[in-house]
């Protein structure tokens, strides 16, 4: 940790000086993220799309192929399960099957028939989990999720504008959108499932990233008061460096906790943990490199604009 305080003394780490580079990198990442989202799309879970998700427990571990050959056999031909997604759950004898019949979730009768057929060729099978969702409900849930995320962002901008200033709020939300798009993009790329816990993960990332950003803002606010001689860039940069140890230590402790969750928390929490891990990394980066950079760019642009207005005589100097 000492190395960081030394860096600060010599001012070797000039993040704000390279802000355009960081902004460009992030812009590229966001564009890649958006393109990936547009091209590959998100693998939405049944709770959003409707349909059924069943988890079956076998006596031995079976492959997706074995299950698939039963699902597409003549006995089950009327359900047309060719498109069912079959996914063995690693480290268990469980298999998850996601399917729908004519846009509807499977009925109890259909599930029983599937289990009977699987038992015939693959040994005893039991149903350990099922989720049946009508498309209507899925749509409602998706709308609610979008509403929750939007409202959080609005609430954050409002609060930050109140406590700091509007520019800070907008810059913070830009950083949040950046984090969200990167996580969504990676999930689209990997084809990981996006379900309700994922929404919780996204909101946690938003909460975490804003937390980080505010700690840096707080420092900038303080330095603006006491170091009037320095430029905006200098103040922003030294504020980032002064809070760097804290930023790193906090992300490390949180990462330690989430990594434990990812590796030991079981299959159902893995995607959730992955989203948080990605979000933590993106969030820490954006809090340090993006949110202050946007604020600096905007503030400088604003000053310049006002200066020009002053020189062209449209405004009195004391307003500037």
């Amino acid at each position: 940790m000492e190395s960081i305080s030394e860096l600060r003394e010599v001012g070797a780490l000039d993040i704000i000086g390279k802000r355009r580079t960081y902004l460009a990198i992030s812009a590229i990442l966001v564009v890649i993220g958006v393109v990936t989202l547009a091209v590959k799309g998100l693998n939405l879970g049944v709770d959003f799309t409707g349909g059924s998700l069943i988890r079956l427990r076998f006596e031995r571990s079976v492959t997706a192929g074995e299950v698939s050959s039963v699902l597409t056999s003549d006995a089950l031909a009327d359900m047309n399960l060719g498109k069912a997604v079959i996914q063995p759950i690693r480290g268990t004898c469980d298999v998850q099957v996601r399917a729908q019949v004519e846009g509807k979730p499977l009925s109890d009768l259909q599930v029983n028939k599937i289990i009977d057929e699987l038992s015939k060729s693959l040994g005893y099978v039991s149903l350990v989990e099922s989720q049946m969702v009508e498309a209507v409900i899925g749509k409602e849930l998706l709308n609610k999720a979008i509403l929750a995320i939007t409202l959080s962002c609005v609430g954050i901008v409002a609060y930050v504008s109140l406590r700091f200033e509007f520019k800070f709020g907008v810059a913070a939300v830009c950083a949040l959108i950046h984090d969200t798009i990167i996580v969504l993009g990676v999930f689209a790329l990997l084809g990981r499932q996006v379900n309700s816990p994922f929404i919780a993960a996204i909101l946690t990332i938003i909460g975490y990233s804003i937390n980080d950003t505010i700690v840096i803002y707080d420092k900038i606010r303080e330095n603006l008061k006491f170091r009037k001689k320095e430029t905006i860039e200098e103040i922003a940069n030294s504020s980032i460096l002064q809070t760097m140890t804290r930023s790193i230590n906090t992300v490390v402790t949180t990462l330690l906790a989430v990594l434990a969750l990812y590796f030991f928390g079981g299959a159902s929490i893995k995607d959730f943990s992955l989203a948080i891990i990605l979000g933590l990394i993106a969030g820490t980066y954006s809090s340090i490199c993006i949110a202050p950079s946007i604020w600096v760019e905007w503030t400088l642009w604003d000053k310049e604009r006002k200066m020009r207005q002053v020189t062209s005589g449209r405004m009195s100097p004391k307003d500037a």
């Binding site: 988890r55 109890d108 039991s126 149903l127 350990v128 989990e129 099922s130 989720q131 049946m132 969702v133 009508e134 209507v136 409900i137 849930l141 609610k144 509403l147 929750a148 409202l151 959080s152 609430g155 954050i156 609060y159 309700s196 816990p197 929404i199 919780a200 909101l203 946690t204 938003i206 909460g207 804003i210 937390n211 980080d212 505010i214 700690v215 803002y217 707080d218 420092k219 002064q242 140890t245 804290r246 230590n249 906090t250 490390v252 402790t253 949180t254 990462l255 330690l256 906790a257 989430v258 990594l259 434990a260 969750l261 030991f264 928390g265 079981g266 159902s268 929490i269 959730f272 948080i276």
Partner: protein, 397 residues
């Protein structure tokens, strides 16, 4: 030690004892995903004869309550949502897939003559018990209400030698030939298995739903799977917390140890608050808890870094601690309130498991602010008071 500090220690000790008692005495309310169970979102549908109005939905809810009572679920949650929806949450039910079937089924029993006229319905039954018929096949034996007995006596008299068909939700169960007049007792066969006979008798006792209910969303989880999730979460929590504790100790030494103590108290407060509020602990909720352990040390880190700065600017250790805490407070408050905003949004729009996550996240934030600002400060001040020169250097000044 100054008396003020002693009293504050007493205060913290009382909080710890109360929390420990709450955790020890009160049960933890595990969600569906941790102990198995059934969650259903049902929507009432109109039929040709009955409209799914407020009254019909209320009656349907009552029927479901009666059915659930027969299933023997400890704390069923059944409530209406909007005009036509009924939410049923049965955590800890032994056979959740069966529960789903029993709750959602209309169970409209009809006796019809050969021309298709309805003679009587399940409403005319007084009791129904599962049993066996003369060939030892599963059956439901029923007794009729006085009104039903009159109808059935008349119908059997008119239909001797002909068949009376018994339908359950438009599915033909059996169609026995009437041998002689039946007054008040009868038997339904054609059920397939004893379990089905038991389920049907249970549904008949609770009554049919006044309107059919469509299952819009069902989540069913076997208890074994819930237990696995609990076990895995425990391991993850233990490892995650140990890593965080070791990290703090390694990086911050004595203050790190103080933060670790604060972290332990933090965990106790959150769990105690969860059980006292009877909040439901879900899998994402546990994840939120583990995550918040990582985030909880954040307030401590902010304070410690702040104290270091104050020391560097030339303050003595005691003054640096005071200034560090008061300066860090605004920062901690601002950064946590924004996280509370997202937790609030999650709570308002999430359902089930996600809501559980929002609750633990929100409680976690409040508790971490308290422990960092009160507990950490108290212990630090007490330690430094003993020997300011000796302990001051641990802050890395």
């Amino acid at each position: 030690m100054r008396p003020g500090i002693i009293w504050r220690f007493v205060g913290v000790a009382i909080i710890v004892v109360v929390c420990a008692l709450a955790i020890w005495k009160l049960p933890i309310n595990l969600g569906l995903d941790l102990r198995g169970g059934t969650r259903l979102v049902l929507e009432a549908k109109d039929t040709e004869t009955v409209k799914a109005d407020d009254d019909a939905v209320n009656r349907a809810k009552e029927v479901i309550e009666r059915r659930v009572n027969q299933l023997g679920v400890a704390e069923p949650v059944i409530y209406r949502q909007g005009a036509r929806r009924i939410i049923v949450e049965l955590a800890g039910v032994k056979d959740p897939h069966r529960a789903r079937e029993i709750v959602g089924r209309t169970a409209q029993l009809e006796f019809r003559d050969e021309r298709g006229n309805v003679i009587m319905t399940g409403n005319d039954l007084k009791t129904a018990v599962a049993g066996y018929d003369q060939y030892s096949r599963p059956a439901v034996n029923f007794e009729l209400s006085p009104e039903g007995a009159r109808k059935f006596e008349k119908a059997t008299l008119e239909n001797i030698g002909r068949r009376i068909a018994i339908y359950l939700d438009e599915e033909l169960l059996s169609a026995p030939v009437v041998q002689n007049v039946i007054k008040d007792k009868g038997q339904i066969t054609g059920l397939g298995s004893m379990e089905k006979a038991k389920d049907l008798s249970m549904m008949l006792r609770a009554g049919a739903l006044p309107v059919p209910l469509e299952v819009l969303h069902s989540e069913v989880l076997e208890p074994t799977l819930g237990q696995e999730a609990v076990d895995q979460s425990k391991v993850a929590a233990l490892i995650g917390a140990s890593l965080v504790v070791m990290f703090m100790l390694f990086v911050y030494k004595i203050p790190g140890l103080v933060a670790d103590i604060a972290l332990a108290i933090y965990a106790m407060i959150v769990v105690a608050a969860l059980v006292s509020l009877k909040a439901v602990l879900t899998l994402p909720g546990i994840a939120g808890l583990i995550l918040s352990v990582g985030m909880a040390v954040d307030a401590n880190v902010i304070i410690f870094e702040r104290i270091k700065e104050e020391l560097r600017s030339g303050k003595r250790i005691r003054a640096a601690i005071e200034a560090g805490f008061s300066r860090a407070f605004g920062c901690i408050l601002d950064s946590n309130i924004t996280t509370l905003i997202t937790a609030g949004a999650l709570y308002a729009f999430g359902s089930g498991a996600v809501r559980g996550f929002a609750v633990t996240l929100g409680l976690g934030i409040l508790a971490s602010m308290f422990t960092a600002v009160v507990v950490t400060k108290l212990i630090l001040v007490a330690i430094v008071d003993r020997n300011p020169e000796k302990y001051g250097k641990y802050f890395g000044a």
